[in-house]
Subunit: 357 residues, 2 copies
């Protein structure tokens, strides 16, 4: 049963993804209610309904749940208890399973393997005594990552030599970590797809991505990887979405090796930075698509009318806005963040060109 | 000097145009503050800052002006005193001249003539004794209209025979009216353009419009009128914009006669219903373009990437939303209005197709 326009959609998280979800919901005639602990949340600027409270505040969560017809979220690190509490009160999409899988890098990789896809080699490191076996399993170079709560390269250490693992593990807090083998990739791609509650799926053209310092720098569509590789990537993502019984937009980041092998790197159970170009190049943006899926509406057309290149504006790169506003090929999206801290995503710019293919 | 993203844009009027202006401003990183007397204003749903007060409330207007970096409006019937008060306190764009011209159908037609364009024949009717001369000037059939405060066919009466004028004039309140001769048009078009404070202009492709009962039903781009006619229409609109020393998006509605003559029907000093298709078919929508102009930013590209057909959803036509959501060719825009009254614009749908020409 679709959730009718005019209803209120609850969004956990008040960053740029929550903001762009709210804008897309508004265009479809929905009201939004943003829940976020940070009083300065950029998404608060685009809605009449906000709750400023910690994600563990049960009273605030209950009041929030009563004020909305459905809850979704802009980030995968929603505490499990928060999601569980909300799910008892109101439809919450995507569900707890997708959160549980995506919150833990080890669980995620195990899940991906069971779903029939391939990842880099990996091993858990929960104590210093795990290190030798882990290095043997992954080979070197490798990357040591916190199993939980990392994003944009945070909570990660590059490992070249075996003796670097223990100090890196101590630096990361000596907690539950995962050592991931290095993938000698020739390209990074991601699959952005939407899945409806009836199992219908819609996929976007596959963007090719470039990261710098663990942060996405650039997404380009069409990708230069061949159509066969893109089709493999889409097939993998569809298997993962089905295995999660997923509802909403799902992003799967992947490595492409020289021989065409596609490895799954990360799953994001949400709209994703590498899908921002869909706003300006597709009939239905990933944000509208997510709103459609969580409101039980039919999925929209993912047809791409333009070629696109999306570039993130990170930290003080936003100071270039006067030039970008004057560039007729640049679609500028700014997030309303007040402070341009280093590494902070402040906006993005999408350049669109008449579609060539 | 551009008004920087992060600043707050004040918008007078809280209907769908104010709402879509606010959404476009948000995408560029601006905050918005909506001023509207109606507590149920749809635009209030998409902003954190609202003032509910009459347009004549000087204290509320002053507080509003102090909270924003620039003021614009979604409708031309802003009282002159309101605009004058705001202009003294904060940049207000477009300015008082455009409002004064567009608020009065007689002043508007006189202005259009002075700017070098043609209108239908017209004559004022302010008393019963004006009627005979007015009918002689315009011929019949004709339309009697209130000089001020009409929209969407309100405040108008169709006149077939001379003896119908007096009762119509009495029905319209026996005030200042204008009698407009009938234009035997073969097509209706409009020009949507933007003009910056430095005189730079950007025009959109000309849509062809169909009205029903005085309300816009449909806009199609490209128009079936020839390129020469469209060029004439654009030229007329540019002359009007220059004569107004205009800043912002301006819409000029026109009649095209069988011999290719183009007559100016109405000027709207604001974003316009016949430009809604630009959201889905152009690099820069009319809403973003208006925000750019009033914030002294460079105008954006008006390049059209798709062919488009926009259809208004009026009154209970919005009840078709489940079908429209399921139509992959339909981009649905709903305005968040709670009550579907007869003749009320509840939303619109734009169908986009790969550009043919």
């Amino acid at each position: 049963m679709p959730i009718a326009p005019g209803s209120t959609i609850g969004i956990l998280g008040g960053g740029q993804l929550g903001r762009m979800l709210a804008l897309a919901a508004s265009a479809l005639g929905y009201r939004t209610h943003i829940f976020c602990p940070d009083p300065d949340s950029p998404a608060f600027q685009v809605t009449a309904n906000r709750t400023i409270a910690p994600y563990g505040d049960e009273i605030a969560l209950k009041t929030f749940a009563q004020s909305v017809s459905v809850v979704t979220y802009e980030f995968e690190n929603v505490p499990a208890e928060t999601a569980a509490l909300l799910e008892r009160l109101v439809p919450t999409r995507p569900g707890a399973k997708a959160l549980a899988v995506a919150q833990d890098r080890f669980t995620e990789k195990e899940f991906v393997r069971v779903a029939g896809a391939t990842t880099v080699r990996y091993a858990t490191v929960s104590s210093a005594t795990d290190i030798a076996a882990a290095v043997a399993a992954t080979g070197l170079p490798a990357i040591l990552k916190s199993r939980r709560l990392g994003y944009d390269g945070k909570g990660q250490r590059q490992i070249e030599r075996a003796e670097e693992v223990e100090p890196a593990w101590l630096e990361l807090g000596a907690g539950d970590c995962i050592l991931e083998g290095w993938a000698p990739f020739v390209a990074e791609v991601s699959v952005i797809l939407a899945r409806a509650s009836d199992g219908a799926v819609a996929t976007y053209d596959v963007p090719q991505n470039t990261h710098e310092g663990g942060i996405l720098r650039r997404s380009v569509v069409p990708a230069t990887v061949g159509g066969a590789t893109a089709a493999t990537a889409v097939d993998i993502a569809l298997r993962i979405a089905a295995a999660l019984d997923y509802v909403g937009v799902l992003a799967v980041e992947m490595f492409v090796l020289g021989d065409g092998t596609v490895l799954v790197n990360e799953i994001a159970p949400r709209v994703h930075n590498s899908g921002h170009w869909t706003i300006d190049a597709c009939v239905t943006s990933q944000f509208e698509q997510h709103i459609r899926a969580v409101c039980d509406l039919p999925l929209g057309s993912t047809e791409r009318h333009s070629d696109a290149e999306m570039i993130n504006l990170i930290g003080h790169e936003i100071d270039r806005w006067p030039n970008l506003m004057g560039d007729p090929t640049a679609k500028l999206h700014l997030y309303g963040k007040t402070e341009a801290r280093e590494g902070r995503k402040m906006g993005h710019v999408t350049r669109v060109r008449r579609r060539q293919t």
